[in-house]
């Protein structure tokens, strides 16, 4: 912190550089670009959850005045079934046809003129049914992949992962209490407020430009170039401001279609999803079915855990079951373990990353069973976590040893927090729940370019798109190294032609990885300036020092700003595949009150503790934690995809897909524990993902304790709570 550990910029709370544009409405988001001759694209989507496409006739639509072009999967140079379906649709909302017209209304009218004949097939939208022997099989060519080995038998189970150590049967034999439960969670969406959008321009020389809002411009370039079979050098992706992502904007949906239509028409084409398209046509987080058995001794030591995880991949394989398995027990020392994880396809949109993908589901099960064990043993749940919690050198039960981590510190901070000291209240159905959670965090490829202006200010170019304030957190790290103010570094997210390859803003990697690269670039700037000053002062390089924003030797001392004028031009450019992401833990405490007549759960108080390593900009680190906690409140209590018998989602709107409003939530107290990550010069750990891991179980534990009935199904909506209370 600025007041403690010697940093001048790190730990302060400057106004973010992109802030004024955003509060004045001037910032340009994905759908905000307009061009005079722009066409509007629309996509026809399957009305069926599972069907063969017998025929597609676009002639009536093509004849509609104002329609410029129509494309299907046959027009894609490289087939990509989730972009435009080939001969089968696997979920309601599956894209089939793209078209471009002079305005959005004309495009919509034309959609209704496309004639598609379907052969409707039975659909399976429930993981529990999809794994049965007699289930409808989505992909005849799909067999179970078990670490490279395939069973050869058609199935909906696309992969099987297993973690095994010790002897679980012996472990359960040693236990004084064993709890076994089955948990279910429903499909939930990232819920970003800005719908998916892309605008494309194609020049006759083969240059394609895509403006879009994305978590990773280079990912978009790679996918668009791949699907359209053109060289990356011909594709320029310009990342505009992005209105939320949470993992959901790490892939492409409409960009290849917009690009294809632009290529064929020669006009600029914008394709923007409607909200129902976002729900039905993009990748949500998987619904899951989890069985979990855990044993502990009466003094509160976990002896064994055995779990089966079934995650819905949606239409195609690829659920986050692996990460779910990796993260679910990371906080604990468990000597005997068996995890079997299965990725299962169902007739729902192809699942995709959502904040700590996979971990909230599995941790919900693990942390609820732990809470029940605590109740049976009459142990304080935080004390139980102190007994079993992992510290540096302990193993994640799936194998690898933890480096320097701050898990126990989060538990201690929760224990001593005022929230945990006061009684939860009386008279009504009130309960307090706690839960912990882990996310491994990512590092990887990042690129930063620092240009030193003659007045000593800095232009910082980066490839990481900024969703929640990373321009500020990265600029601050460069400023810290350069000994200048955060405001003197002007960060900009630039297009794929203007910076080195950079991975997605996801996996909680950006402040760590791109920050690390910004630090390296700043160090390069300092080195270059030292060399130039040595020349200027006619001394040896080793006689020039840099400290506290000042270059000096025995005779001279000048500020960074003065040096900038002398040294111009200076550019520090670094691109690197970084490592050293530090995994991080959080522990949440929540109080709820249940209305016993209606089953409605009110969140009374929420405290989220997290090891953030070092908070670069504490306000935005807090904001990540608060936002994650409230997404967790939604997931726990009210959000779900509701399907009818035909596999149709019936609540694809912000009205009926109930994300929490400001009137549903309390203030979220945050406690940031700082156990610096040795893998980063300032100790940064990823912050964004962890806070969505504990809330599901924390709230379920609170509700369970409030009503005296174990809640194992999410969301805990009023109907399900009333049922648990035996009121209906």
């Amino acid at each position: 912190m600025a007041d403690g550990n010697g940093y001048k910029v790190v730990g302060t709370r400057p106004i973010r550089h992109d802030g004024v544009d955003k509060v004045t409405g001037r910032a340009k988001y994905g759908a905000d670009l307009n061009f005079p001759d722009m066409l509007f694209g629309k996509i026809l989507r399957s009305p069926h959850a599972h069907a063969k496409i017998v025929s597609i006739d676009v002639s009536r639509a093509l004849a509609h005045p104002g329609v410029k072009d129509i494309v299907t999967s046959k027009d894609l140079p490289i087939l990509s079934e989730n972009i435009l379906a080939e001969d089968k649709v696997f979920y309601k909302g599956h894209a089939i046809v793209g078209l471009a017209a002079v305005d959005v209304h004309t495009a919509e009218e034309a959609l209704s003129l496309i004639d598609i004949e379907y052969e409707v097939l039975p659909a399976v939208t429930d993981v529990a049914k999809a794994i049965r022997e007699d289930s409808v099989v989505l992909h005849q060519s799909l067999t179970t992949n078990t670490l490279g080995e395939k069973t050869g038998k058609p199935t909906n189970i696309s992969s099987h992962v297993r973690h095994q150590n010790g002897d679980v049967e012996a472990g359960f034999a040693e236990a004084d209490v064993v709890v076994e439960r089955t948990f279910t969670t429903q499909t939930v969406h990232q819920g970003y407020i800005e719908p998916i959008t892309a605008t494309a321009k194609y020049n006759p020389d083969g240059e394609l430009t895509v403006w879009t809002s994305t978590q990773g411009a280079f990912n978009v370039r790679q996918q668009v170039a791949g699907i359209l079979d053109c060289p990356a050098s011909k594709v320029r992706v310009v990342p505009l401001e992005i209105g939320g992502g949470f993992g959901g904007k790490t892939t492409v949906y409409v960009a290849p279609v917009a690009a294809l239509l632009a290529m064929r028409t020669g006009q600029i084409v914008k394709v923007t999803m409607t909200r129902d398209e976002v729900f039905e046509g993009t990748g949500p987080a998987p619904a899951t079915l989890i069985r979990l058995k855990m044993g502990a001794t009466k003094d509160g030591r976990i002896t064994a855990a055995d779990t089966d995880l079934f995650y819905e991949g949606g239409a195609y394989p690829g659920s986050a079951v692996g990460a779910g398995a990796n993260c679910m027990f990371a906080a604990y020392k468990i000597p005997n373990l068996m995890i079997d994880g299965f990725d299962v396809v169902v007739n729902k949109p192809s699942s995709h990353a959502y904040r700590a993908p996979g971990a909230p589901n599995s941790s919900f099960a693990a942390e609820c069973v732990i809470d029940e064990i605590c109740q049976k043993l009459d142990l304080d749940p935080l004390e139980f976590r102190m007994i079993n919690g992992a510290k540096e050198g302990d193993r994640n039960p799936i194998g690898p040893r933890h480096g320097k981590i701050g898990y126990l510190e989060t538990v201690e901070a929760a224990q001593t927090h005022d929230h945990y000291q006061v009684e939860v209240g009386n008279g009504k159905l009130r309960g307090r729940g706690v839960a912990s959670g882990y996310w491994g965090n990512g590092a990887g490829r990042s690129s930063v370019n620092l240009t030193v202006n003659q007045d000593g200010t800095i232009m910082l170019l980066e490839g990481s798109t900024d969703i929640g304030g990373t321009r500020a957190s990265i600029a601050m790290q460069a400023a810290e190294v350069l000994g200048i103010a955060a405001e003197d570094v002007r960060p900009a997210v630039v297009d794929t032609n203007s910076i080195g390859e950079t991975g997605v803003t996801g996996g909680s990697r950006t402040t760590h990885a791109t920050g690390l690269v910004a630090i390296r670039a700043a160090e390069s700037v300092i080195e270059q300036m030292k060399e130039k000053l040595a020349d200027h002062w006619e001394v040896n390089l080793n006689q020039v020092d840099f400290a506290d924003g000042t270059f000096l030797n025995s005779d001279n001392q000048i500020s960074f700003k003065e040096a900038a004028r002398i040294c111009s031009p200076v550019v520090g450019s670094v691109t690197e595949s970084t490592t050293g992401a530090g995994g991080a833990f959080g522990t949440h405490v929540v109080d709820v009150e249940v209305d016993e007549d209606t089953g409605k759960v009110e969140v009374l108080r929420y405290t989220a503790v997290q090891d953030v390593g070092t908070a670069i900009h504490p306000s935005y680190a807090e904001g990540q934690i608060q936002g994650g906690a409230v997404q967790g409140i939604g997931w726990a209590l009210s959000e779900e995809y509701v399907y009818d018998q035909k596999g149709q989602m019936v609540n694809a709107s912000f009205l009926d897909y109930r994300m929490p409003t400001s009137y549903d939530t309390p203030m979220v107290d945050t406690v940031m524990v700082e156990v610096p990550n040795p893998g980063h010069p300032f100790g940064v750990r990823g912050v964004g993902e962890v806070p969505l891991v504990p809330p599901l179980a924390a709230i379920a534990n609170a509700v369970s304790r409030a009503i005296g009935v174990r809640m194992t199904h999410l969301p805990m909506n009023p109907g399900s709570v009333l049922k648990a209370l035996n009121k209906i």
Partner: protein, 290 residues
């Protein structure tokens, strides 16, 4: 969105003439918060939108012997009105939870009524307050009780060439008050799983029910006037037992469906819960007001 024509009518007669000309193709536009979305989402076909917000009669809001609310008066004007706050609190309860404040800037009680959703919040409130719908058409004005206005989801007693002009609500007696509430999973920005309103008149000593009107939302194809449930309270002591009896009677007439917002069983259960809360809410207001 389908194409349509638009006329901003200046008078009732102009509006009626347009309706007469375009019949089923025409639709009255007031706040538009339901209509525009329905047309956009292809739930309703409209060839002509007749905007009546410029018609003086539909903008009236007066309390003079009785309360008159023009069909286009937006929710916020209703819940901000002092006379309504003191005399018709159930109307304040209902109008302040229709959508968010942005919706309330435009959405009108008249529109809420004409949209005829079974879950409309203002309709049970209007029913318990004994509101009359004043309707204009080629054959002149006529009046219909609110409880008889809705025929089914989206269906009303209006002929295709008629429009709702205003609602007229009689002045409540002394020792009377009203209360509306709904149950929703979210605290706001939601559709009633069940709604319940109660208007109650008590004896001067607050010990006995003089009369009561109860109405329910989202438990039948139209908002329901639970006539018997209210009537049975007349002359009964103000007690948990009496109230329970009314709640059971209200549950008896509910014929809810199961849908994504709630199951039939849950809704029937909630009818009991909300009727009790609505009655107690109205009773408490009488006691507080005296």
């Amino acid at each position: 969105m389908q194409a349509f024509d638009y006329v901003a009518a200046k008078s009732l007669s102009e509006a009626v003439n347009l309706l007469t000309k375009y019949r089923d193709q025409a639709r009255i536009l007031s706040g538009g918060t339901d209509l525009i979305v329905q047309v956009r989402e292809n739930h309703r076909q409209v060839g002509m939108m007749v905007d009546i917000k410029g018609v003086p009669e539909v903008n009236t809001l007066s309390y003079n012997g009785s309360l008159e609310i023009g069909a286009s008066v937006p929710c916020y004007k209703i819940y901000s009105n002092e006379a309504i706050k003191s005399n018709f609190p159930a109307l304040v309860d209902a109008t302040s939870i229709i959508g968010g404040v942005q919706i309330q800037s435009r959405a009108s009680v008249g529109g809420n009524l004409c949209n005829a959703s079974p879950a409309a919040d203002s309709i049970p409130a209007l029913i318990i307050l004994g509101a009359q719908c004043v309707i204009d058409g080629p054959n002149g004005e006529r009046s219909v009780a609110v409880e008889d206005f809705c025929d089914g989801p989206g269906q009303t007693a209006l002929e295709s060439n008629e429009l709702l002009v205003k609602l007229v609500i009689p002045t409540p007696t002394p020792n009377a008050s009203s209360f509306y509430l709904r149950f929703t999973p979210r605290n706001e920005m939601d559709i009633a799983v069940v709604g319940a309103g109660a208007a109650v008149e008590l004896s001067a000593d607050h010990q006995t029910f003089v009369s009561a009107r109860i109405a329910l939302g989202a438990v039948a194809p139209t908002p329901l006037f639970a006539d018997d449930a209210g009537s049975l309270l007349a002359g009964k002591p103000v007690s948990d037992e009496s109230i329970e009896e009314a709640c059971e009677a209200a549950k008896d007439i509910a014929t809810p469906i199961s849908d994504m917002r709630g199951t039939a069983t849950q809704r029937t259960h909630l009818v009991g819960v909300l009727t009790r809360r609505a009655l107690n809410g109205a009773i408490n207001r009488i006691k507080e007001g005296s």
